[in-house]
Amino acid sequence: MIEFVDVTLLVLLGVTSLVIIREQNLFAAVMLAGIYSLLSAGLFVVMDAVDVAFTEAAVGAGISTVLMLGTLALVGHQEHKPKRRPILPLFVVAVTGGVLVYGTLDMPSFGDPANPIHHHVAPHYLEESPHEIGVPNVVTSVLASYRGYDTMGETTVIFAAVVGVLLLLSRGPRPRRTVVNGTWRTVAYEEDPPEVEEDRDG
């Protein structure tokens, strides 16, 4: 039964990604990308990684889709036809993918209990977490306590990401630099475009 679910989800994932590549309408492509994330979340559930599935469904299928739609509102819904046939990029992508697949051949097989990952610190976490931390969900105790440094780093990375986005996209008044009499001068501050929102009482 579980094989049937696995195969169905993987086939749907493959079909979705192929359609995303072929699709010229970007709106449909964004929606399909959301479906792709939801299918991935389903696969994570099958692999008993419910915390990861939760994040994938919330971020991949939820917030990312909204952000992509916001981008589409700016750039339009239709993909332009490529001017040249992308032979060289296809070659680079195929070689990179082949090398990555070749690299996985050396890795221990998935789910094998003899894998090194299952014999490093994982047994300690699983056995000692109820006494040392006292939180029933081991994922939470690893995330917030055993690996508290890493999670603090991740939180900082999210903060750094939002600072980067705001630096790139926020619309403060910008000085305009133009050449006046042969030298660069800051001539004026560009005004923000007036708000044209549909808030009638705001």
Partner: protein, 141 residues
């Protein structure tokens, strides 16, 4: 906008439940799947839904961009602050055992505050990024 009655009423009914579910995910993270990260995203999703249905101007009146930026920074401060509190109490950085005379309770308090920090930063960051994207207007190049 005004004729989409089902959307507006539906969103208005759903949003409180989405916020409540985010809090459930936050505080139930010790027992089931979930935690600060997922809760922060779901909490932000409620405001994104409000913005999609009622317009960006209205959501910015309920939740000003300045407050969102403060949230994004405040969460990291809460997280690092827990670390400095444990340092001040004589433990290692982020070693929660010293937070209470019972080490297990110390761990519980530490995880509670740390997850709160993650929630606040993720919520602030997601809404700030959404504001930044949605606030842009189409420019003819």
């Amino acid at each position: 906008m005004d004729d989409r009655v089902i959307l507006r009423v539906g969103a208005k009914i759903l949003i409180p439940f989405i916020l409540l579910f985010a809090l459930y995910v936050q505080f139930h993270g010790d027992y089931g799947p979930g935690g600060g990260f997922q809760a922060g995203v779901i909490f932000a999703a409620a405001f994104v839904l409000y913005a999609l249905v009622y317009g960006l101007g209205n959501v910015k009146r309920a939740l000003p961009p300045q407050a969102v930026y403060v949230c994004a920074a405040l969460g990291v401060l809460i997280y690092a602050g827990v670390g400095f509190v444990t340092l001040a109490l004589g433990g290692d950085f982020l070693a929660y055992n010293v937070l209470n005379h019972n080490p297990e309770h110390g761990q519980e308090y530490g995880i509670l505050f740390v997850e709160l920090g993650v929630l606040v930063t993720v919520f602030g960051s997601m809404v700030a990024i959404f504001y930044a994207f949605a606030g842009r207007r189409k420019v003819d190049v």
